[in-house]
């Protein structure tokens, strides 16, 4: 957010805020322990608002649930902003001192009347207004989101629309206020922190800034490394499609199962000249590889750090001996470097980390010793006497505001790419269940009494309309492919809305249905919005 890619608040603040909006996040099931903090907040009197097409278990806790149509988030956010402005509840003083671009933003949202928002989102105008005014009037309020916001073709615009709301009401940079993306994997945040994104070096430092580049080059003994940003994942697949990308080295990711439009992903991966996969399992992606490098599990078989959704850098430690032949990621990379003629030696995880601390100012104070003692530290932590940072952007409230002002971004509603038509009338959205995770590579390892396998969840009303029983197998088809899947009736889904997970690719390849329409800035595909049809299977009776 405005320069730093991390949630602005601490979990603890959710316990002491007045209003929490969970927007496109079923934290009850996807971030259960964060939801404990939310529930403590609720017990302490906070109002909870859930914005989600599905009435999820998180939404069941909410004082108000806004069941928007999939992909109408910007229409909702802009209409809320308009309501706030018209009610005179915009924090004009904060806007003036700490932001830019307000006028253009105001002009943009003026077109989002409640009537229009009701038409785009399906949510009654009165409810939109109620939530907007509640948020604006709350002394403290925070917005938290997950993939419901980011797995869209306009993911970045979605996020910006939420940021606008916080800037409009001065709800960032103060205790109990903030903007918090809840990270889906245990080290998504850490990957970003460490520069595993196309335009950044460790500590979110701009790769294309010559001074930064120079600093790293000096530290790395004049090593020659790119000074232009690279490709994100979706761009890589596009490059494979064009033939520009012929060799790929994949570490701990299973795109053959996790990519939208799976048929295409597998085709492109299979056509590479050289594919190296480093993983703890022989995943479906590894099965396509020319070389597989068996790795130790990062969280239990090797040393290192990860960063969580409150920017807390925490230690992971080796508790188990890895299986024979599986090696620590650092060892593998060191060995590769050796073979490529760079003598990096065999640094320990701590030595690698200390190098990172020397180069990344926001991590500088996070010595292993301190991480051990304090149960982790929240960045930025610039020196070893610094306690870590509970919430970001307090600078915006300094007199006068410090640093670059926070920009409003005028963003427009843009519905999902995969349009609903008579042929494909059902909106399929995807998500996670409590006891499972992603493509099931990890969570498939234990027996969960809650697990019922993959199913296409639909409203009982749709079931009756299509004439399929609860539990009956059907054919679900999108413009990209079709799968056979059992139907399960789910009263929390409204007619016209269906739900699947990606947890059981061996049972049902949900990603055959999903669309790879991708946000150009973040590279995330629109997993949340496919258009499908559901057909009753006609079986020839056995004779």
């Amino acid at each position: 957010m405005f320069g730093a890619g991390g949630g602005t608040s601490s979990y603890r603040e959710a316990e002491e805020t007045n209003l929490i909006i969970l927007w496109g996040s079923n934290a009850r099931e996807t971030h259960p322990i964060f939801f404990h903090h939310v529930l403590r907040g609720v017990r302490n009197g906070a109002r909870l608002v859930a914005v989600d097409p599905r009435r999820t278990s998180s939404a069941e806790w909410a004082d108000v649930w806004l069941g928007i149509d999939v992909g109408s988030d910007i229409a909702l956010a802009n209409a809320m902003a308009r309501e706030i402005i018209h009610a005179g509840l915009a924090d004009k003083e904060f806007i003036a001192r700490a932001t830019t671009g307000y006028e253009e933003f105001e002009r943009c949202v003026e077109a989002y009347t409640l009537e229009r928002a009701e038409a785009e989102t399906g949510v009654p105008a009165a409810a939109i207004s109620e939530v907007a005014l509640d948020y604006a009037r709350a002394e403290r309020g925070m917005i938290c989101w997950t993939l419901g916001i980011t797995e869209h073709h306009n993911a970045v615009d979605n996020v910006l629309a939420l940021i606008n709301l916080a800037l409009l009401t001065g709800k960032v940079g103060r205790y109990g206020c903030g903007l918090n993306p809840l990270r889906g994997q245990n080290n998504v945040q850490g990957g970003g922190d460490m520069g595993a994104i196309p335009a950044r070096l460790p500590g979110f430092q701009d790769l294309e800034d010559p001074a930064i580049h120079e600093k790293f080059a000096r530290a790395w003994s004049g090593a020659d490394f790119p000074s232009k940003k690279g490709w994100h994942l979706s761009e890589m697949f596009e490059a494979m499609d064009r033939g520009d990308l012929r060799s790929v080295y994949i570490v701990g990711e299973n795109p053959a199962r996790s990519e939208a439009d799976q048929t295409r992903a597998v085709r492109l991966l299979s056509g590479l000249d050289h594919l190296v996969v480093q993983d703890i399992f022989l995943t479906q992606t590894a099965e396509l590889a020319h070389v597989v490098l068996p790795a130790a599990a990062g969280w239990a078989e090797s040393e290192g750090t990860v960063t969580n959704s409150e920017r807390r850098v925490q230690r992971v430690r080796r508790a188990l001996e890895p299986p024979p032949g599986a090696r620590d990621d650092i060892d593998i990379i060191g060995e590769l470097a050796q073979r490529l003629g760079c003598g990096w030696g065999r640094p320990t995880a701590e030595q690698v980390w200390d190098e990172c601390r020397r180069l990344s100012p926001m991590h500088a104070g996070m010595a292993y010793r301190r991480l051990d003692e304090l149960g982790g530290l929240q960045w930025p932590c610039p020196d070893e006497s610094h306690p870590g940072t509970q919430f970001l952007h307090a600078r915006l409230w300094k007199e006068p505001a410090e640093g670059a002002p926070a920009p409003f971004h005028a963003v427009e509603h843009d519905p999902p790419v995969d349009r609903l038509t008579e042929e494909f009338p059902i909106r399929l959205t995807t998500g996670r269940r409590l006891d499972s995770f992603n493509t099931g590579v990890q969570s498939g390892g234990y027996t969960s009494p809650l697990r019922k396998g993959e199913a296409l969840l639909i409203s009982p009303e749709d079931g009756k309309r299509i004439d399929v029983e609860d539990g009956e197998a059907v054919r679900a088809s999108s413009r990209r492919g079709s799968v056979e899947v059992r139907v399960r009736y789910e009263r929390s889904l409204r007619p016209g809305l269906a739900f699947m997970t990606l947890h059981f690719p061996d049972q049902v390849s949900t990603n055959v249905l999903t669309i790879d329409a991708t946000d150009p800035k973040s590279g995330t595909a629109e997993f949340k919005a496919s258009a499908i049809r559901i057909d009753k299977l006609t079986r020839v009776p056995a004779t």
Binding site: R55, S57, S58, A59, E60, G67, G122, R491, R494
Partner: protein, 600 residues
Amino acid sequence: MDIRTTGDPATEEEIAAIDGLLGEPESLWQGGERHPADDHVAHGGRAVRSRRHLLLPVLHAIQDRTGWVSRGGLEYACRRLSIPPAEAYGVVSFYARFALQPRGALALHVCDDIACKCAGADELCAALEKDFGAPGGAWHRSPCLGLCDRAPAALVEGAGADYEARQIAPVTFAEADGVLRGGAWPHNHSTPLSPTLSPGGRGGLLRRVGVVDPRSVDSYLDHGGFAALRRAREMGAEAVIHEVTDARLLGRGGAAFPTGRKWESVRKADARPHYLVCNADESEPGTFKDRVLMENDPFAVVEGMALAAFATGCEKGYLYVRTEYPLARQRIENAIARSRERGLLEIDIEVRRGAGAYICGEETALFNSIEGKRGEPRNKPPFPVEVGLFGKPTVENNVETLINVLDIVIDGGAAYATTGTRDSTGMRLFCVSGHVLKPGLYEVPMGTSLRALIELAEGLGPGRTLQAVLLGGAAGSFVTPAQLDVPLSFEGTRAIGATLGSGAVIVFDDTADMKQMLLRIARFFRDESCGQCVPCRVGTKRQEEILERLLAAPHGDRRADVMLLTDIAQAMRDASICGLGQTAANAIGSGLTQLRVLNG
């Protein structure tokens, strides 16, 4: 709240019963059908969870309709009220009156408690068992039904759309037999008008009992009704509390806390709203005074509540009455409705019905019960005047206490305090039962001797001698014939290690089997312990077991077991959370030491 229900759906009857109380569900999300509006918005959260307190009324609605609480019915109630089913199950299974197994519409509850034992309840139960099998089918053994003046007693309930409950006392075998065979229910025998002893000529607390028409507000007004409330409004809240304080009125529920001080604390409490709770959960064995007041002078109870609410700034009042008092409940509900019609009531008063739990007479357990929870007492402090019902400042008074306040406001505190003793002012209602010729409710000045009270009840039957008196009910203690001159005042009874408690006075002549009485008391506490704290939960069980052991083998060495009882008693008294555990060994201890039951 994300609630998971996995049972069968509720039956139409159950849904009708629940919706009859709560209204139709507003949305799919509260257990109803899908409406178009449900697809895109839902209001819930705190607003829905705050209906938790309706759980007991809903459970009563289900059971009144169908005779029991099924899983489907309970789960539908849970959806309507946003209560997790496991919690609701914990609540249903806490209260003895709720049935969790299917049973017929008819339920006959036969009291086998102390006073009814004195009147042949054991023989009645044995005869029923012979003809109708062990209790638990259509007939049930019950702790004290509060009809001790007309023992033996029974209560019959018929589930259905036209649910009815009726007290039958005294009940004969022929009547019980007729009811169980589906015959007509005998009419409630009229309350024998207890003789009262009143100071001066003006009449005491019971002066309207049997005189006014308990169903008519006009009749009450004709007998000076609502004069005290009018007077209180003229005086102002502060002056009312001043008079109550001057009267040195002590609470009549058993704890004897100064009423004026309680009222003052609530009046001054900053937090809002303030709640008033009238404790009419009279369940102490041998106690029936509040029932007589509610059945025969219900408008006075309502006026007393209105007055207390006025003095303490309460926005809302609850009267919590045990489910075994259907007539009292009906009369009070009528009195509230009639008074409100006439514009005599400013405060909203709601009647809540217990469900068979002695512990709910404990003030904080009663709060939990109103809140729709298990009737588990809370640890104090904080005290109810600060953190009471729904966590707000609450004044809780017993029915008899509130009736006293009416006279205090009319006559003035100082005048009131001239009756009784210095430390125990005013008149007191005593529920005299057991082996006396005229059991009933007697009103005497505080300080009257126990001997005089028993004489008022015309003493024992011809040729009988007194064996013991149980003063204060099961939580009280035994008094010997040698102690009959004890003055019935708080300080007088305290001096001999006894207590006035709830005003229960159960008299035993030489025919009473005191061992059985002790065992009944031990069983009572084992049944009624809420189970929350270890000393009481396990202590009441061990007390019963050891007592059984002692009484079954009267000739062995009893010293070790008596020592065990003493040890348990001390731990229960010292370490239990509430008054139930703290007093659960009193009567048994006094039976062993004062009455020397083991030596008999």
